[in-house]
């Protein structure tokens, strides 16, 4: 199974709900394309909801990093919500857990946007 993506607006934050596996190929490009579209619409407060993401490989991590730098460079904020233990572990061993703002609850994530 590759990644499935749904976009919704909560106030001025765009939430991208991802489900499945973010891996090299379709999984990574689906996320990249969706993000490009959101930014083109002028939204730059973005929350990636990964609660239904079961698996991320190094290419998927690369896409998360690219998304983060792209949004940050455009003056926006990209944060992560709902990571399972394995994805959290992956971000920890790659030292990226401190780069991203990571939340367990969507409501808490929402309150963190300026």
């Amino acid at each position: 199974m590759s990644v499935k993506l749904n976009s919704r607006q909560v106030g001025d934050v765009t939430v991208l709900d991802l489900a499945g596996r973010i891996t090299l190929g379709e999984g990574s490009s689906t996320m990249r394309d969706a993000l490009k579209e959101v930014l083109a619409q002028g939204h730059n407060k973005i929350l990636l909801n990964l609660s239904e993401v079961s698996y991320i490989d190094s290419s998927g991590i690369g896409e998360l990093v690219s998304a983060f730098t792209t949004v940050t460079n455009q003056g926006g904020q990209l944060k992560l919500n709902g990571l399972n233990k394995r994805v959290k572990d992956l971000l920890q061993i790659t030292k990226l857990y401190t780069v991203f703002e990571v939340f367990d609850e969507e409501s808490t994530a929402m309150r963190s946007y300026k």
Partner: protein, 147 residues
């Protein structure tokens, strides 16, 4: 390429095309082998992830999706370990020249974490030149000893 010793069971010995579909199929075969060998869920995840990263390296960076080049996969194991050998027919590379993905200046790089993750998830990783050309990577995972 010699992987299996007399006492070991061979699970997979197969050649793959240099495609992303091969990566998925190889991952699935390796996971089935590791499951049959009795690894627990946590180790299965680590083996699957390391093997997938290794297959991606062989297909994408080694063979560069070249239809004339193949990836050879061998999986074997004993009572308490599994060995995975993945060989490509690419140009080869110098592992010592790979940048450290944990260095401050590399943290936000898009790529370069594959080998690091393979090493993090497996007990032994040996990257060496293949004969006559290419790279072969031997991965070994030992079963976790329960307390």
């Amino acid at each position: 390429m010699q992987l299996r010793e007399e006492s070991e069971k061979e699970y997979v010995n197969q050649q793959f095309e240099s495609t992303l579909d091969s990566v998925d199929r190889a991952e699935s075969l390796i996971m089935s082998a590791a499951e049959a060998a009795g690894f627990d869920e946590d180790d299965l995840h680590k083996i699957g992830m390391a093997a997938r990263e290794c297959m991606v390296n062989a297909v994408v960076h080694g063979n560069r999706y070249n239809a004339n080049k193949k990836v050879h996969l061998q999986v074997s194991g004993g009572d308490d370990y599994i060995k995975i050998l993945i060989a490509d027919q690419g140009e080869g590379f110098d592992i010592a020249k790979l940048p450290d993905p944990l260095a401050e200046e590399n943290l936000l790089r898009h790529s370069g974490r594959g080998i690091f993750l393979i090493r993090a998830f497996m007990d032994e990783v040996d990257v060496r030149p293949a004969s006559p050309h290419g790279t072969e990577v031997l991965l070994v995972k030992k079963k976790s000893v329960s307390e």
